[in-house]
Symmetry: C2
Subunit: 393 residues, 2 copies
């Protein structure tokens, strides 16, 4: 048996653990009395228009191509629709020839890391970060190194410079961020690009900037999203329609590099080789065929903004210290005791289920996923108050 | 860049290369005048009943769960339906607890190999074999070693015994076989089990038998399919609905071990860890939900049997030497010159596109994929005759 794989399988996800605890509580005390903020599972349905496109495709019963193998990089029309969309929306300077349709963002990141990493090279990421960056980096032969952030969980230039060495191959970022909800604006991206450019020159090899962007459309501030291909040549973008179209279980997204990448051909070859080697064949044919028709849509993501506003105000009013989320659907709340795991446990006594920040690489916070029904948001506030009061006694 | 991944990406698939040549020829000379036998893409559509189940699911528009994340091993009801089906049909002795729903057979094999292999261990497979066994084995840290077969491409006990050593960790089999169409009956499986058991004892560690079974339902002989969990404890089965339900682009299948496997818990943990590390999250939620309702169905696979009968008789009558296919949808035909690559090239002059056996690990044959329309089968025979005659001059 491979001991590393066994360990990754046995540990399981602490997020899923708290989720199963919430489910148990629901069975015991009733759905309405339990406030589950554990998962990042979209709470608003996919757009009606998408389901209709899918139904129309499925009505072409004798058309064997609906469910056929697609080219391994994806259907040409789908790749073209993605490139066009990004070029229109962000002036992204991407071509369909360097867009690979993938089985979701997890696949995009795994493929991207496997394409560029050589044994023992380092992937840097800012803490806190998504837990799965560890197994993906390690399977690609690399080592994940966490880089500290400033007091608002934004990248800090000095800490980043200190972390880069000659083994650094990738900086993996995620904005809007899971678990903090912070957003890296143009100024931040310019700083990252400047540092990476300088360090790439210093060490004589390109350091890649990989941007993990499943929450790109879930942005609550009136600032442009800085599409990284415009700021840095050696970049890759991993995207998923999981959150913007509420399709997390269907696994469809993409991986791309910009037309300004001097080694784009080589990189795209390596991406194809990595996808093959990892066991990916293609993203769902049915969903690939539907995508071009819904590429400008999102599910009703304004619901998340309202959830955020109510929850943020509610918790601040009680006295909690929160990181104001500028995007995604996570609120990062300061723990009321030093040990956030103990604090998350204490919350369960009030039927509130959240995830301690320890599992994301920092201490002292909990992640509250507000992709839940309005009732759960509003109904939880009394419990959050009791929890707060229990610490003042 | 990772050179290995670049190489795998750049080489591309020789099957896809011949396929694109056929497409070019079609554009030039018309669809009806070109006979493309390159791909293993099902030519009969998915069952109507499946598309109807999918449509009904999609009509539940406000039900966010249709497209939600599923548990990483799959939806419980789906896993249960798979286990029940196998226990009824094969007395397979499998439990839902050791069935993982996967993103197709490619994922099943990649996950299975990554779960059990340690760096440098060997995976044996009988030649000829599916080309992708190389990248999957190598990404898992192993080495693929080809084992010769007898003159009808069936496993040979003496050759197998000679190939096993203390680094052997897995024997990977595929029956009915791609590319030869041969079938391993109960007698063959009993022999493999006996050798592996003996060698596992000799080296003091279990050697796994991994059975890659996408063609299990495409069987043209009246013999029972020997489900390997019944014959050998340390076994894994990788399955895909790609061929039986004509769903290759939707990527749904499973990976399982039997209840008699003494290390089934550990193995299932490692399978979960491997799936996580490779970037798999879950198989399509929509298709997972549909599966229990169509699990006893297949698409109209009798079409392949008729194709096989016509093609086999047609080619034998002309004078070709063929391996009689007992399953799958491939006919293995002896090349009329020593170099099968040159022979496949010669065939293109008659607008016939086949794949040389060299790419599957043996010399001197071509693979003819007969998962095509009846018209292609019948229409190709004149060209096959001309090709044959051109070698008698």
């Amino acid at each position: 048996m491979n001991e590393k794989m066994k360990e990754y399988g046995a540990k399981g996800s602490p997020i899923r653990y708290m989720w199963s605890r919430a489910n148990e509580d629901k069975r015991e005390n009733g759905e309405d009395n339990v406030f589950d903020f554990t998962l990042g599972n979209p709470s608003v349905p996919a757009p009606d228009a998408l389901n209709e496109v899918l139904i129309n495709l499925l009505k072409r019963k004798d058309d064997v191509s609906i469910h056929s193998y697609t080219p391994s990089s994806g259907i040409t029309e789908t790749r073209m629709a993605i490139a066009d969309h990004l070029n229109k929306k962000y002036k992204a300077n991407v071509s369909k020839d360097r867009v690979m349709v993938t089985v979701g963002a997890a696949a995009s990141i795994a493929i991207g890391l496997n394409a560029v990493l050589n044994e023992g090279e380092e992937v840097l990421t800012f803490a806190p970060h998504f837990t799965e960056y560890f197994p993906w980096t390690e399977k690609a032969g690399g080592r994940l190194k966490e880089v500290g952030t400033n007091n608002r969980f934004l990248p800090d230039e000095a800490l980043l410079r200190k972390a880069i060495n000659r083994d650094t191959r990738v900086l993996l970022i995620n904005s809007p961020n899971n678990p903090t909800g912070v957003f890296y604006d143009e100024e931040v991206i310019r700083m990252l690009a400047r540092v990476l450019k300088e360090k790439s020159e210093e060490y004589g090899k390109p350091i890649y900037l990989f941007s993990d962007e499943p929450y790109r459309e879930l942005l609550y501030v009136d600032k442009p999203y800085p599409f990284i291909t415009k700021y840095y040549e050696y970049s890759m973008v991993g995207y998923s329609y999981s959150k913007s179209l509420s399709l997390p279980g269907e696994r469809i997204g993409y991986l791309l590099t910009g037309e300004n990448n001097p080694e784009k051909e080589e990189l795209f070859s390596a991406m194809n080789g990595a996808a093959r080697s990892l066991g990916f064949v293609c993203a769902s044919s049915l969903f690939q065929k539907a995508l071009p028709e819904v590429i400008n849509l999102t599910s009703n993501i304004e619901e998340y903004r309202t959830n955020r506003d109510i929850l943020l105000k509610g918790l601040c009013d009680i006295g909690y210290d929160c990181i104001v989320p500028e995007g995604a659907f996570y609120l990062f709340v300061k723990s009321l005791e030093e040990d956030a795991v103990a604090f998350a446990e204490e919350a369960t006594k009030h039927h509130i289920y959240v995830v301690a920040s320890d599992y994301f690489g920092v201490k002292g916070y909990v992640r509250v996923s507000y992709c839940v029904g309005r009732k759960t948001i509003v109904g939880s506030l009394a419990g959050f108050r009791e929890l707060f009061d229990s610490y003042r006694r």
